[in-house]
Amino acid sequence: MAKVELKNLTKKYGDVVAVQNMDLTIPHNEFLVLVGPSGCGKSTTLRMIAGLEEISGGEIFIGDQKVNEKDPKDRNVSMVFQNYALYPHMTVEENLGFSLKIAKVNPDEIEAKVQDAVNILGLEDLRKRKPSQLSGGQRQRVAMGRAIVRRPDAFLFDEPLSNLDAKLRTQMRTEIKKLHQKLKTTVIYVTHDQVEAMTLADRIIIMKDGFIEQIGSPIDVFSNPVNVFVATFIGSPPMNIIECEITKSNDQIMIKLDNDILVHCPKEKIAKLADLKKVIVGIRAEDIVPVKSFSNEQKSLWAFSKAIDLAEPLGTETQLFFKLQNQEIISRMYNPRPVDVGENINFQIETNKIHFFNYETKKAI
């Protein structure tokens, strides 16, 4: 049980930088999720912590020990791999007990710990089976069991659910969450799936091109994305992004949402937007609300009507697609009714839910 600390961690493959000067402290018992598109350096980071990848620069601490030069076996971490990496020639219980056997733990103790893991994960009936006789979900469970038996300082998960089908994935997600609550260990979890990241994490790190874009709690990164990348990466469907011109008329700052839609700049942003020519407006789909008619006090609201290109009913909601500034916009309609393509719908947006990003730097304003 220990905290994990990365100081100035860097990984280079020749001239290509995979991870750049990463600083991070993961307190004991935190569930940390590294998320980002493929090639962002998240797996590399994890593998450096495990000791499977050599470090080009910087330091890694597990507990209070610097582990830079240590072999994976001496780091007391355990890892769950994307394709399980079960040992095909060993039965489930042999797989579970292998690390203990290597550590020369006495057989009774191994048996006890294996039994413990078997109980936790419900593998009782599968103990004598070989990996080839297990289903995907069962293999996943064994892979997790193998990590559990060692009671490591930290669990490392490398996209553990990406080989499972959607339904199993949801189920295993819950199991992992429960497991963490039961075991109270530091977990570092890598995924490219933002839903997994949101649901599992105490803290999320969003990475891109070897850099950390943002660190924060799931709610935090969702509601206060620091830049356009995070805004579009977190949340489903992705946040609507519109590049708008800023115009000034009659001392008023106006934002041009579409050719014929001009809206007032929210008061609290006027100071920041006044000198800009263009701005990126980000609005989540659920914040573009379809309404029957506009309410009277529209001062705090942006409102417009627009013809629908496409309506996708999902049951609890219907997603409406239309265009602003030639960019596809999605809106969520929570009280679904049949909608025809081409129908004009009235939308309104609460101004305090709107995100503004600098057109050049893509950073939040």
Partner: protein, 296 residues
């Protein structure tokens, strides 16, 4: 016609079975029969002179045969084990090389191209006490008395083994290298995280993954153990004083030189059963090793 053949597996296999039946099975049945006669090449009518188990009884009583038999088993045990060991070593070595690996692999296959008779000759040349490469080389370091590699009763067997190992280690090396290259990376990494040092990773993960390849190599190799005849035949001809006599050279000597076909055939059967037993054993091991890894 062709269409019909391709619809039925029996028709497809039939030509193979016919060819093997005619060239291998029928002769074997025939020789099985002659092993119960006193057939001598020089006296054709002796083909029908039925002597029951006498040839086999003579075989059991024949000390020279048992020496040859024991020597053959010993020879195979030593040679196969060393080939496996060296092959594994070479495979591990080459697996570590990233630059020029392909070239090295090709060079490694070099000895496989050599006909056994050529291997025998080549090593006969190298081991020649008078003009051989080895003695000439030792001469440079002051060993002026020529070592009689193929004439000394103890050295001869060792020299033959060297030739045999040189010729066949590459089969093991090449197949084990293929095995090494095919091992998925994840289980090895998992084992390293699980606390294994390099040796433990090798013992617990790499080796089990390699086992099918070990047995593929042994199966293929066991098909051809009889070809050691060529090497011995040319290097020493079974000498000196029968110190390198293997089952196969003994069969040739008794069958062709002494023209005692019945007796030689009885001996042949022992050698055939030996070869088949080796092949069968390794093949079942191969199947078991694959099942162990959950393949097919």
């Amino acid at each position: 016609m062709v269409r019909k053949i391709f619809r039925s597996p029996v028709m497809l296999i039939m030509p193979s079975i016919l060819a093997i039946g005619f060239v291998i099975i029928i002769p074997l049945i025939f020789s099985f029969y002659t092993s119960f006669t006193s057939y001598k090449l020089t006296r054709p009518d002796s083909l029908f002179n039925f002597v029951g188990l006498r040839n086999y009884e003579r075989l059991i009583d024949n000390a020279k045969f048992w020496y040859a038999f024991g020597r053959t088993i010993l020879f195979l045990a030593v040679v196969l084990n060393l080939e496996l060991l060296f092959g594994l070593g070479i495979a591990l070595l080459i697996n570590k090389i990233t630059w020029g690996q392909r070239t090295l692999r090709t060079i490694m296959m070099f000895p496989m191209m050599f006909s056994p008779i050529l291997v025998g000759f080549q090593w006969k040349y190298i081991f020649n006490d008078n003009i051989g490469l080895l003695n000439n080389f030792l001469y440079l370091f002051g060993y002026e008395s020529a070592i009689p590699w193929l004439i000394d009763k103890y050295l001869a067997m060792g020299s033959i083994m060297v030739a045999e190992i040189w010729a066949n280690t590459s089969i093991f090396a090449i197949l084990l290298l293929a095995g090494l290259l095919g091992i998925p990376r994840d289980p090895i990494e998992a084992a390293r995280v699980d606390g294994c040092n390099s040796w433990q990773v090798f013992k617990n993960i790499t080796l089990p993954f390699l086992m099918p390849f070990v047995f593929i190599a042994l199966t293929i190799r066991s098909l051809d153990v009889g070809r050691a005849y060529d090497i011995v035949h040319i290097m020493t001809g079974g000498g000196p004083a029968m110190r390198t006599e293997l089952l196969w050279t003994m069969i040739a000597r008794i069958g062709y030189k002494d023209a005692n076909m019945g007796f030689a055939n009885a001996m042949s059967y022992v050698s055939i059963i030996l070869s088949i037993a080796f092949t069968y054993y390794f093949f079942t091991k191969l199947v078991a090793a694959r099942r162990d890894l959950g393949q097919q």
